[in-house]
Each structure stands twice: as structure tokens, then as C-alpha cells.
Amino acid sequence: MKIPCPLCGQRDSREFSYLGHASLMDRPAPDAGDAAWDDYLHNRENPAGVTEDLWSHDYGCAAWVVVTRNTVTHGILSARLAKEGTS
């Protein structure tokens, strides 16, 4: 797999480390309650198809990147910087 890093261009996926679904950026408020935090920490949409997930370009620019890709085909559709926020 090659990931199109917005800063570095097409790079081997081995340069990146994977964290999980991009919903991890939508952190609940500290006082949001147990249910919201449990859902945030543990539960996942886990789609079979197009998903957005967080990759860190460890062996490149060290930026967090949101990659849009297909979990069924391994096709990578696009990537943007995580600091641009959730879609």
C-alpha cells in the first residue's frame, strides 16, 4: 500500500504507523459522562467498505494523516492532514 502523504507525496505504508478510526479525533468533553467515554474508547463503527483512519507518518514528516480508504479492497482514496479536523 502507498499512502499519499499531503506533505511528502506517495510513500510506502511501512513509513506510517496506524492508530485507528478517525473518530478518535472527536474526543468527548471531560464531563461528557461514562457512556460517551466508553463509546469513544471501545466501540467502533468498523465499516466494511470506505473508512477514514489515522496514520502517523513516523518515518517521514511525523504528521498525523487522515487516510480515506476501502477496508474491503485495500484501495487508498485520499489523505489529508489530521490538523484540518474531521470531515
Binding site: Y18, H42, N43, P47, A48, D53, H74
Partner: protein, 418 residues
């Protein structure tokens, strides 16, 4: 019709014309006592034990593909019980005992071969960790033996003992661990369930779970609606999608785990051999002669049932480091299984918030060895509405409460760390 040596002799002499399909191909009925979603190893095992131990035979197993075509055919067939954390420990011990009687119980040769597993350690610290695990296994009532370097050299002469990067210190031998034939396990359980009256319905995809007032009413399928009071989800690999039909969000992320097999070779690897330096690596030789081996997850969410080259390269590097002789073998095939990775790395067998809806999943990469006990414990839960003593730890609410987490690796209840 039972298998026996006499039967094989008779069939052999009469042109093998008397063999019949191992299970029927029934059309779905309008109503069942229990509907099991998923005809994988665990679903078939659940149906088998529901019929055998609880006398519940008005059961349908709904499989969207065909029997043996999912994860039960996409693994490395290793059977072992060397888990450490209470909750996992007694469960896998229970499973190993069921494996040991499975051939006779099913009257079907599942080719369960207790050839022994040797886990190699490569440092003093790794030896201490292996000793701790071995003591936990002995405490659960099973066996483990420490092999010194000298004993290991006699047992596994083909390892590279001269290397300096990952020097071999010794190994832990689990004599009762081994392998089984994955297809035979699925077929034997399907036949066993079918003979007791269970309907195994292939090419039947569940498209909805009907509930009313928090109580299960039935399922919608590609072959029509089926009424039932009890629905058992057991679809590891697709758990999130099926549970979503009942409005559930699960602590599961699906990952790909690759496996590889070489061309058939003469017998050379007599045990299951594994080691944990350089990631993770395990290997055994199938009865056809192929070396079957694998390593870690690729490490990203996937339903592709195939992996990418970086992990293939890594696993082959680990193989070459441990046993350079493998470099002469040609790799024949590779495949990927879809792993239901739960956030603490351990499975779930529990009731749900909907009355009559049960959930079994989150098997991570431990599903094959769990097949008999998973079905046995799930059948107990479905029949009696209380957990089997060997599976009381597999609660769905442990992630929410934080109590009773089964974190075998000590990395925390966090996705992407197991």
C-alpha cells in the same frame, strides 16, 4: 451412518458407491426454537452442543456462504491451551479437553494431532516470562515442560543455534498442543449437528433481526423471514455488521492476519514451533507436507481476507532467522483471515440488551482452538440463560465497567495494541 474400519473396507470393495452427503440441504422452515447466524466452526459447534447436551434440535444454522468457506478455512489450525489470565485460562483448558475427545465424539476424523508445541525463548527475561506462563498453565491443570538448550538442540536440530542476533536460550514444551484439520472440523461438526436434526442452511444471508419491545421475534434472510425466540450471533469477522442490525455498537475492530504455506515437503518439522523475537512467528507442517506459518496482524482495519507484502516479508525474515533451511522451500499460497479484534484482546460470549439475542465474537486470533469450547459454552448460555462455568469471564460489559478485563498481553484495553 457411522464411519468404521469395517465400513471403509466394505466401501472399498464395492467401488465406494455407498457414501452419502454428510449433511442434508434443507429449505428454511418458518419457525425454529433457535436460529444461529453463522455456519463457521463456532456456529456449527454451537448447534452441535445445543442438540447433543441440551436436547434442543429444532435449530437452524444460517450461513451466507458455504460450510468451511470462512475463517474456519483461513487459519493455521493450531490447538493449544497456554493462556495465562484467569477467564481465558480455564476456557482454553476446557477447549483442549473437548478437542481430545472430539474425534470419537463426532465419529469423524478431525485429524487432531497432539504433536506438541515448543515456544522458544531468546533471553533471560523471555525465559522468566515463559516460566510464568508455564506455571499458570500447570495451575490450570494442564502441562508444560522447560527444555534446556541441550534438550532443545536434540529435539529441534534444524534451528540456527549459532546466530548472535537472537541467541536461542531454550524452549517451553506443551506436549498436548498440536494441530487439527480445519475442514474436517467444520464438516464433522456439521454432520454431527445435522444427524441430531439441526437444519444447516447455506447460501442464506441474514439481512435483519426483528425485535419488538426489546424482545427478539425472528430474522429476515435472503431466503425469507424466519420466526424464533432466540437468535445467536456467531459471525466473528463480520460481527460489527450483524450486531448493527440489532442496533449494537461493538468494541471490535476487524483486522487481517496472514498465513502462508509452502509446497509439500517430506516430514521435517515435527512440532508446532513458535518464537516471539522479531515480532512473532509460528510454524507447523501439515499432513500434506506443506509448512504452514504466520506472524502478527498486518496492523490496520481490513475485511480484504488478504494482506500486504510488508508482513509477508517480515514473517519470512523471522522464519529465516530461526530456521535457515526454510529458505529452500517455495511458498505456494498465502491468505488472510478477518480477525474480530476486541479492545482487550479476548473474546465475548454473552447475552445482549435485547431479550433472546445472544452474541459470540471478538475471537481475535484465537478462534480455531476455541471451536469446541466456544460452541459448548455458547450452547449452555442459549439453553440455560446463564454462562457456562468455563466462560463466565467473557462478558460484554467488561469494557464499559473496566472490571474483569482479559488483557493477556498487559497492554491495556485499547484497540490496535493486541
Amino acid at each position: 451412518m457411522a464411519f468404521s474400519a469395517l465400513r471403509i473396507l466394505k466401501e472399498g470393495l464395492t467401488g465406494n458407491k455407498g457414501w452419502q452427503p454428510h449433511w442434508r440441504d434443507p429449505a428454511p422452515k418458518e419457525e425454529y426454537d433457535v436460529v444461529i447466524i453463522g455456519g463457521g466452526g463456532h456456529g456449527l459447534s454451537t448447534a452441535y452442543y445445543l442438540a447433543k447436551e441440551h436436547g434442543i434440535t429444532n435449530v437452524a444454522v444460517l450461513e451466507k456462504g458455504w460450510i468451511g468457506g470462512g475463517n474456519v478455512g483461513r487459519n493455521t489450525t493450531i490447538v493449544r491451551a497456554n493462556y495465562m489470565v484467569p477467564g481465558n485460562s480455564e476456557f482454553y483448558s476446557h477447549s483442549l479437553k473437548l478437542w481430545e475427545g472430539l474425534d470419537a465424539d463426532l465419529n469423524y476424523n478431525v485429524m487432531h494431532s497432539q504433536r506438541g508445541q515448543i515456544t522458544i525463548f531468546n533471553s533471560d527475561g523471555a525465559r522468566d516470562a515463559a516460566m510464568r506462563r508455564a506455571n499458570a498453565v500447570i495451575n490450570q491443570g494442564d502441562d508444560a515442560e522447560l527444555l534446556s538448550l541441550g534438550q532443545l538442540k536434540k529435539t529441534l536440530p534444524y534451528l540456527d543455534y549459532d546466530q548472535t542476533r537472537f541467541p536461542i536460550y531454550g524452549g517451553m514444551l506443551y506436549r498436548r498442543a498440536g494441530t487439527a484439520r480445519h475442514d474436517a472440523v467444520a464438516w464433522g461438526l456439521a454432520r454431527g449437528a445435522d444427524r441430531r436434526g439441526v437444519d444447516i442452511i447455506q447460501n442464506c444471508e441474514v439481512t435483519g433481526i426483528d425485535t419488538a419491545g426489546g424482545v427478539v421475534q425472528g430474522v429476515q434472510t435472503s431466503r425469507g423471514a424466519i420466526r424464533t425466540k432466540k437468535v445467536a450471533i456467531v459471525v466473528a469477522g463480520r460481527s460489527s455488521q450483524v450486531a448493527a442490525m440489532a442496533g449494537m455498537r461493538l468494541p471490535i475492530e476487524s483486522h487481517v492476519l496472514q498465513a502462508f504455506v509452502t509446497e509439500g515437503l517430506k516430514p521435517c518439522i515435527d512440532h508446532v514451533v513458535s518464537y516471539g523475537m522479531l515480532g512473532h512467528f509460528y510454524i507447523s507442517q501439515s499432513d500434506k507436507g506443506g509448512l504452514v506459518f504466520g506472524g502478527n496482524l498486518d496492523g490496520y482495519a481490513s475485511y480484504a481476507a488478504r494482506g500486504n507484502l510488508p508482513m509477508a516479508e517480515h514473517v519470512c525474515e523471522a522464519a529465516m532467522t530461526l530456521m535457515p533451511m526454510i529458505g529452500r522451500a517455495k511458498m505456494l499460497r498465502s491468505w488472510g483471515g478477518i480477525m474480530d479484534m476486541s479492545s482487550d484482546g479476548s473474546p465475548i460470549i454473552d447475552k445482549t440488551h435485547i431479550d433472546g439475542l445472544y452474541f459470540n465474537g471478538g475471537w481475535c486470533y484465537g478462534g480455531f482452538k476455541a471451536i469446541p469450547a466456544s460452541g459448548n459454552c455458547y450452547a449452555h448460555l442459549i439453553a440455560q440463560d446463564r454462562p457456562h462455568p468455563a466462560a463466565t469471564g467473557f462478558r460484554l460489559d467488561r469494557f464499559t465497567t473496566g472490571r474483569g478485563l482479559l488483557d493477556e498481553e498487559g497492554t491495556g484495553s485499547h484497540h490496535n495494541l493486541h
